[in-house]
């Protein structure tokens, strides 16, 4: 690094701290306060402390970026504040020990733009997330915000707007992938004087948080997209349906609405035109099925959120029987870019049938978990091994699950498949709202199928029989298999039930709920067979099928496991080999977790018997060389 001259903080610098939900839980609010205080104490006139929404790289949180250099700091804590202020902000010398370290090469990377996690992405929907202060409309306007709305109102007819969006090839990012422009056209052409524009921000998939991050990091994009959509359809009333479990997103969207109204981008006669739009925020009360459009509308009306059969489609008879249109947060966030840069520009990214980019919440057993945006058609392998940095702890990849709780689990042989609506559907999975969960060899595929089904089963609204009773039957069978009580005929029964539920359910929840079971049966049938025939869980995960043992030749009699065992089922004494009472053991794994690594005396097995004494016996094992004392 070139020796920078101390510039005494006169140089213009802004340090942006991430204040997304992930980083806030890592104390980023406290860090911001400490930075402000320290900058004031040192009297640095050129230095500003500001915050942004989610950067997407939550794994490394709390994160901070110093502009204009673009230095990226990872895992910042309050204790690091004095050094950042004195060394970097005052003396111009970045703090090297806070640089992000590449998980593969272990190399420290100072600049944001050089980090693989970011530079392999193409950000359209998330273009502003982590780049501006989401609580200031001026920041959004400075990036060209609300220019697209102006262009629509001043230069384009509603029909032209619809045509542009149709030509761009944008498809619904909520999961179904229906062409957005066509949906708008249906609603525009439906007879009726009152039409409703609804933004679906009821992101209920476990493991998915892209809608939340978009609303927290760049709420004005969503509002602008929504206003353009309403203009295109001729709607004067809008609703944003947000999960109440996302309090920060609710707060920032409400604030954005207020600012937008004050600036005249919302309300009556927007920008001097004769187009008016009023948007209301509705907080969802926590029901997964409300992500389905007819259920969501029932919920806005104050009823139990249960789907109804279609047709009539919402475009002709939706909220209170009026023509309505529902779009996902990500679809709407894309709209201003399409208008600004043109349909052709947008359509140049992606594949023939799936245009543009898609956002994934990459989680599970992966080194760089976080929020990513990639062009449609990218192979899964690239997402997992290049952007995601691979599987941590040199474990082996087993499966990747896309599309939320009702998506399918794909094995290694599918890693070179392109990611788009059609390819994923052909493999038995789906695009869904964009959850992407990576599983390694320690994940039991039967248990994960049981887990997903237990979620969809609990969230089934109970209206139609295949979903209400069928998923319960499937879950009972899966629980039986995980307990080691499965029967050989269970596999066929699961297959048959799954296919019938898919064919017979009213809404997408039931039609997709069997996916995780059907795909794991297709790609990981051997694991089902091991559970049923050998009462063995190959991944050592199903609690009823595993046991913990303390190896007598390794135990040093230190007593750590005995003190920590919550079930008090370990017997032993100083310098005596400890013994687990298998009858009383709850298989929580605490003993394995706390046993010092240099002893490594606790093992986890399935369908195996380990030879251990019945009662504590004196320690005979030699002390491992690593222990100095």
């Amino acid at each position: 690094m070139t020796a920078a001259k101390p510039d005494n903080g006169n140089k213009q610098r802004t340090i942006f701290i991430c204040q997304g939900t992930g980083c806030i839980s890592g104390k980023s609010l406290e860090i911001t306060e400490a930075l402000k205080k320290a900058v004031a104490e040192h009297g640095l006139p050129g230095v500003k402390v500001d915050f942004t929404g989610c950067h997407g790289f939550c794994e490394q949180g709390p994160v901070a970026i110093v502009e204009p250099e673009g230095i990226f700091y990872a895992c910042v804590s309050v204790a690091d504040v004095p050094e950042i202020v004195e060394s970097h902000l005052r003396d111009g010398k970045p703090v090297e020990r806070l640089f992000y370290k590449d998980p593969v090469s272990d190399e420290a990377i100072p600049y944001h733009k050089d980090i693989k996690f970011y530079n392999m992405q193409q950000r359209i929907i998330l273009r502003n997330c982590g780049r501006l202060n989401p609580e200031r409309i001026e920041d959004y306007i400075a990036t060209g915000g609300y220019e697209s709305l102006k262009k629509c109102l001043k230069e384009m007819t509603p029909e032209q707007v619809i045509e542009e969006v149709k030509r761009s090839g944008l498809r619904g990012r909520g999961g179904a992938g229906f062409p957005t422009g066509m949906k708008w056209e249906f609603c525009r052409n439906a007879p009726g004087d009152q039409k409703y524009m609804i933004c679906n921000a009821d992101e209920g998939d476990p493991g998915a948080f892209m809608d939340r991050s978009t609303m927290e990091g760049d709420p004005h994009t969503v509002l602008e997209g929504m206003t353009i959509a309403a203009y295109a359809m001729g709607s004067s009333e809008g609703y944003i349906y947000i999960r109440a479990e996302y309090p920060l997103a609710v707060k920032r969207v409400r604030l954005a609405l207020k600012q937008s109204e004050e600036k005249g981008f919302l309300g009556d006669n927007i920008m001097g035109s004769d187009f008016s739009l009023h948007i209301h925020v509705k907080e969802g009360a926590g029901a997964f099925v409300c992500g389905e459009e007819t259920a969501l509308m029932a919920s806005i009306e104050g009823k139990r959120g249960m789907p109804r059969s279609r047709p009539p489609f919402p475009a002709t008879s939706g909220l209170w029987g009026k023509p309505s249109n529902i779009n996902n947060v990500k679809s709407l966030a894309t709209v201003p870019v399409i208008i600004a840069k043109g349909a052709d520009w947008y359509a140049s990214t992606g594949t023939e049938k799936s245009k543009g980019t898609c956002v994934f919440a990459l989680t599970g057993k992966i080194a760089n978990s976080g929020l990513i945006e990639v062009p449609m058609g990218i192979p899964l392998r690239k997402i997992i091994y290049e952007i995601g940095g691979g599987i941590p702890g040199s474990k082996k990849f087993k499966a990747v699950q896309t599309g939320g709780p009702s998506g399918g689990c794909l094995p290694e042989s599918y890693l070179d498949q392109p990611v788009d609506y059609e390819s994923l559907a052909a493999a038995g999975s789906m695009m869904g709202s964009g959850g992407m969960v990576v599983m390694d060899e320690e994940t039991c595929m039967v248990d994960i199928a049981r887990y997903f089904l237990s979620f969809t089963q609990a969230e089934s609204c109970g209206k139609c029989v295949p979903c209400r009773i069928g998923t319960k039957q499937m879950l009972d069978i899966l629980e039986r298999i995980c307990r080691g009580e499965g029967q050989p005929e269970d596999i066929d029964l699961l297959q048959q039930l799954g296919e019938n539920i898919k064919a017979g359910s009213l809404c997408q929840l039931g039609q997709t709920a069997p996916n995780p079971v059907l795909t794991t049966l297709r790609y990981f049938r051997d694991e089902y067979e091991a559970h049923i025939n050998e009462k063995r869980c190959p991944a050592l995960s199903c609690v009823k099928l595993i046991s913990f043992y303390i190896l007598p030749d390794k135990c040093q009699g230190c007593g750590i496991c005995l003190r920590n065992c919550p079930a008090e089922c370990i017997a032993g004494d100083k310098r005596m080999v400890h013994v687990i009472d298998q009858e009383k053991c709850v298989r929580c794994g605490t003993c394995l977790e706390v046993c010092p690594e240099r002893f490594g005396a606790v093992v986890k097995v399935s369908a195996e018997k380990v030879d251990v004494p019945d009662e504590p016996i004196p320690v005979t094992a030699e002390k491992p060389a690593a222990s100095a004392t």
Partner: protein, 178 residues
């Protein structure tokens, strides 16, 4: 410590009614107000007691069963009073894979209650949540609205200790007395 269905004392009932009425005044008498009303009443009272639900039904001129139907449909609403501290164990996909269910077992064991119940001293209530969107910090437990990352069984004791509940030494004493 088990949660028991107790009748609310009549003084408290009257107070609930008055609070509910005060909140109702700010809403139109339309069906679409129902969920926002329930959210606001629960925000104030901490849960939705019977007397509040009947009050709301009367105000909106709908059968009380419709109010109860909506309350039991949505996960957000609760029918029993909350504890002083709320413990929400995340059971999202990422948390499940990193052992969220084992963490839930640890909470159940330490507090002696099941999810959706409150300890008898009304200090803690326990519940699960489908996902709080902090998947990178799994397994997550939300303690008093603050997501805590990496909550494994041993950290459960640490969190309780911070509230002044020393479950670990109690256990140790027990085993030493044996």
């Amino acid at each position: 410590m088990t949660a028991k269905k107790q009748d609310t004392p009549s003084g408290e009932q009257e107070q609930h009614k008055q609070e509910t009425k005060r909140i109702l005044n700010g809403f139109s008498r339309k069906r679409l107000s129902l969920i926002p009303i329930l959210q606001k009443v629960q925000g104030k009272l901490g849960y939705l007691p019977r007397e509040a639900m009947t009050e709301i039904a009367e105000y909106l001129d709908i059968p009380a069963i419709d109010v109860y139907g909506v309350v039991t449909f949505y996960n957000q609403f609760r029918l029993n009073p909350p504890g002083k501290h709320s413990i929400r164990v995340c059971l999202g996909t990422a948390c499940h894979m990193k052992g969220g269910y084992i963490t839930l077992d640890a909470w159940k064991r330490r507090l002696g209650i099941n999810p959706r119940e409150t300890t008898e001293d009304r200090e803690f209530d326990l519940d699960t949540v489908a996902c709080v969107g902090c998947c990178t910090m799994a397994p997550v437990t939300v303690v008093d609205d603050k997501p805590e990352g990496g909550v494994e069984p041993t950290r459960v004791d640490g969190i309780l200790l911070a509230f002044g509940y020393d479950t670990v030494t109690k256990d140790k004493d027990k085993s030493e007395n044996k």
